[in-house]
Symmetry: C2
Subunit: 268 residues, 2 copies
C-alpha cells in the first residue's frame, strides 16, 4: 500500500485556485498512491479575522466545492484522499477533514481540540474517535493540534487504527518529532500533511513549518518534506506492521497497559 502527503502553500481565500492547484500537483506527483493526505484548511487558508468571515467560507459536506473536487480526484487517482476544510452545518462551523474513497463514499471528522483563535472561529468537534475504513485498512483521522493530546492517537489505535491521517497547519516546532512518539507508543503509521508559507492578515502573522512526514510504527521517519515549498512524499508500507503490537515477544504495547491502575483516573 502506498501512502503519502501533499504539502503546499494555499493563498488565503482563493478556494477555486487552491483546489485547482492541489489537483494539478496530485495528478502530476501522486499517481499510484492509495492514501493521500492534504493539509488542514487547504482550500481556504487559515487566518480568519472573525467567525463571520470563517462562516462565509464554510461549505456543506457533501454538497460543497471541496466535496466535488475530492470526489473527482479520488476517482481519477483510484485513491482515498484526506483534506481539511471549513465545514458548515446549519449555524455551526467546524474545522473538519474528509476522507473520500475512490467509490465516492466519504467520512468526516470534526477537529476536537481547537488551537488559539480557532476557538473564536469554529465550534468544537463532536465526532467520536473511531477509525474509518478505507483501502482495506483502518484509518484514524485527527487534525493538527489534536496530536498534542496523547489520548487522541491512543483511542484511535485502541479502536484499531493502523494509519493516522493528520492534516495540519503547524506553527509550533514540536509536532514532527513528537509524532514519532505517537507512532511508537501506539505502533501505528502516521501521515502528517502540513502546509508551508505564511499568512499576514489583520495585523497578525502565522508561519507554517512544513516538514510533512510519514512515520512508521517503530517511530522511524519514512519520508519528510522540507520546511518550505511544495512537496509530495509517498512511501510503500504494509499496514499489517501496525498489527504487531508485540515486537519483542514479551511486551504487547496495548495489552500491557495497566488500565486497572490508571483507567478511571484518565476521566478526570
Amino acid at each position: 500500500m502506498r501512502v503519502g502527503y501533499l504539502q503546499f502553500d494555499p493563498v488565503f481565500g482563493r478556494r477555486e485556485e487552491n483546489l485547482e492547484r492541489l489537483g494539478r500537483i496530485a495528478r502530476e506527483r501522486a499517481r499510484g498512491v492509495n492514501l493521500l493526505v492534504l493539509p488542514e484548511l487547504a482550500p481556504t487558508g487559515y487566518l480568519f479575522l472573525s467567525r463571520e468571515e470563517a462562516l462565509s467560507y464554510g461549505e456543506l459536506f457533501p454538497g460543497g466545492p471541496t466535496e466535488r473536487f475530492l470526489e473527482r480526484l479520488a476517482r481519477e487517482l483510484g485513491a482515498s484522499i484526506v483534506i481539511g476544510f471549513a465545514e458548515r452545518s446549519g449555524e455551526r462551523l467546524f474545522n473538519s477533514c474528509a476522507l473520500m474513497r475512490p467509490d465516492g463514499s466519504s467520512s468526516v471528522y470534526r477537529k476536537a481540540h481547537l488551537f488559539l483563535d480557532e476557538k473564536d472561529w469554529f465550534d468544537q468537534g463532536d465526532t467520536p474517535f473511531e477509525p474509518v475504513r478505507a483501502e482495506g485498512t483502518d484509518i484514524g483521522l485527527l487534525i493538527c493540534f489534536d496530536w498534542y493530546f496523547p489520548e487522541v492517537a491512543r483511542v484511535l489505535a485502541i479502536g484499531g487504527a493502523k494509519i493516522l491521517a493528520h492534516p495540519s497547519n503547524l506553527v509550533l516546532p514540536h509536532c514532527p518529532e513528537a509524532m514519532r512518539t505517537r507512532c511508537l507508543e501506539n505502533r501505528v503509521f502516521a501521515v502528517t500533511a502540513n502546509r508551508t508559507g505564511s499568512e499576514n492578515r489583520g495585523g497578525r502573522s502565522f508561519s507554517f513549518i512544513g516538514q510533512s512526514q510519514v512515520v512508521g510504527p517503530d517511530g522511524k521517519v519514512l519520508a519528510r518534506a522540507p520546511s518550505n515549498g511544495v512537496d509530495v512524499g509517498i512511501v510503500e508500507i504494509d499496514p499489517a506492521d501496525a498489527e504487531r503490537k508485540d515486537p519483542t515477544g514479551r511486551n504487547d504495547w496495548m495489552k500491557d497497559r495497566r488500565t486497572d491502575l490508571f483507567g478511571k483516573l484518565l476521566d478526570r
Copy 2:
C-alpha cells in the same frame, strides 16, 4: 529548587560496593541538590538469571540496606533522593523505587509495566499513580519502561505532579527524545536517571544507553548526560512553571482535553 540525576554503571550483584560508590559520587558532585534521582535497580544491577536469583537480592523497604543507605544520604545532603531497587514483600518481588526525604520519611512506587524478562523476575506493581509530596512540590514516580505508556505521565500530571522522577535502565534508543513529548504534552518537568555500561550473564548481553536528562515543561532538554560513564547533572528549576498549563492564553493543555469524547474509550 535544584533537581538532578546521577548516572553510573553498577556492577552486578555487588550491592554494598555499588551503594558505597553512589554515596561517594553524590557527596562529591551533588551538594546543594534538592531532588536527586538515581537509576533503576542501582544497588544490584539488572540482568537476573531467574526469579530465584532476583528474590535473593530482594530487600525490605523500610528495613533493608538500601533504605539505610538512602536515609543517611538524604539527611546528609538535606535532599530528597529517588533510587530503584528490588523490593521484597512476603513472597512477592517488585521492581520498585523509593523516594527518601531528609526527615527520614519515604514513599515507594512499584513498577507497573515490566519489560521483557522482568516479567519472569518480578511481580507487576500495584501502586496507584498518585504523586508524592517532597521538597514542597508534587513528584510523580515512574520507572524506566513505564514512560512508553502515555497514560502513566498523564495520570500523574492530572493528579498534580510537577516533576516526574524516572529511575531507568534504558536499553532501547527512544526514551530520551520521547520524554520531551511526555513533558510537553503534560507541561511537567522530568528527571530521567539512566545507567551506563553493559551486563553479560547467562549468555545474554544488555547495553544501557546513558543519556540521563532533565527536561522542562516546554520539552526543552535542560541537561543531558553522555551515553557512557558517570555523570551528575543538576539544574535550577521552578516547579511553578509546571503549574502554567496555558502558556498561549487560549489553550489549557489539561482543561482542553476532550474527555467527553475519549474518556471511556481509554478504559478498554
